[in-house]
């Protein structure tokens, strides 16, 4: 396990939000809200295109944070917060950056807080995702 200094961030990465990715996500969760599913309903509700559901943002992940090396096994997702701005809709291009914002250690457990921000093609902030990940110190 290696943890870089707080503030270290990933290089930007741009995701194209494919309509099929939204559809698969919506179907995997069994969501029925029509603006998640068809463009006419989305436009009637004031969105530019089919809108991504709130937790879809987790799939718009950042590139790896340089120097952050966590054991694959035994990572626990402890907390998750999203704050939303401009909606993410199909065909958007969302540029994300992830940043290590906090590190705390308690016994064998390390709590890492990562923040990912997503900006769309119009430079509007779409979401801020804050994840707390709990890693266990490797025995070896």
């Amino acid at each position: 396990m290696n943890i870089p200094p707080v503030g270290t961030q990933s290089p930007p990465y741009s995701h194209v939000v494919e309509p099929g990715a939204i559809r698969r996500f919506v179907e995997a969760l069994g969501l029925g809200y029509q603006p998640y599913r068809d463009v006419e309903s989305a436009r009637a509700a004031g969105y530019r295109d089919v809108v991504a559901p709130p937790t879809f943002m987790i799939t718009l992940h950042g590139q790896p944070i340089p120097g952050l090396d966590l054991p694959e096994a035994g990572l626990i997702h402890g907390e998750q917060t999203f704050r939303y701005g401009e909606p993410v809709v199909a065909h958007d291009v969302i540029t994300v950056v992830s940043r290590l914002v906090e590190v705390k250690t308690r016994g064998p457990l390390t709590f890492l807080t990562l923040e990912t921000t997503g900006i769309n093609q119009e430079q509007a902030m779409t979401f801020v995702s804050t994840s707390t990940i709990i890693a266990r110190q490797a025995q070896s």
Partner: protein
């Protein structure tokens, strides 16, 4: 006052395989019992983000009334084993035509404490805020 109905759902292995594909989270502890046991679990568990995503169903009546989520935070308190029934419920802390604040809890059959608790803030008829400047 919006009316919300608890959501009851049995989490199956095929749910988790579909969610793995849709979210591109292919950690094998979410579909492979051998892998889950190798990592010290009794068997396959749900992705935390799958459980959180299912909570979206609970708020759909509010979405249909024109609200949208402006902020959502939750804590994953325990794991959700596959082939268990979960219940998603919540209470309205605040409700105006412009804003609803919900406390939510997800419980698993035969487990005494919630596996997920959180707060969702929904707004209606407001311009989209810049989330980097709020809070």
């Amino acid at each position: 006052m919006p009316s919300l109905v608890p959501i009851v759902h049995r989490v199956t292995r095929s749910d988790l395989v579909r969610y793995a594909g849709a979210s591109e989270d292919f950690n094998p502890i979410h579909f492979d019992d051998d892998a889950a046991r190798f990592y010290g679990l009794d068997g396959v568990i749900a992705h935390g983000m799958y459980t959180m995503g299912l909570v979206t169903r609970f708020i759909e009546p509010l979405l249909n009334q024109g609200y949208r989520v402006s902020e959502w935070s939750n804590r994953f308190r325990a794991m959700v084993p596959v082939n268990r029934t979960i219940a998603i419920d919540g209470s309205i802390q605040e409700s105006t035509p412009q804003r609803v604040v919900l406390n939510i809890a997800v419980t698993v059959e035969n487990l005494p404490k919630p596996v997920l608790t959180g707060t969702i803030i929904l707004v209606r008829g407001e311009p989209f805020a810049d989330p980097a400047t709020t809070n």
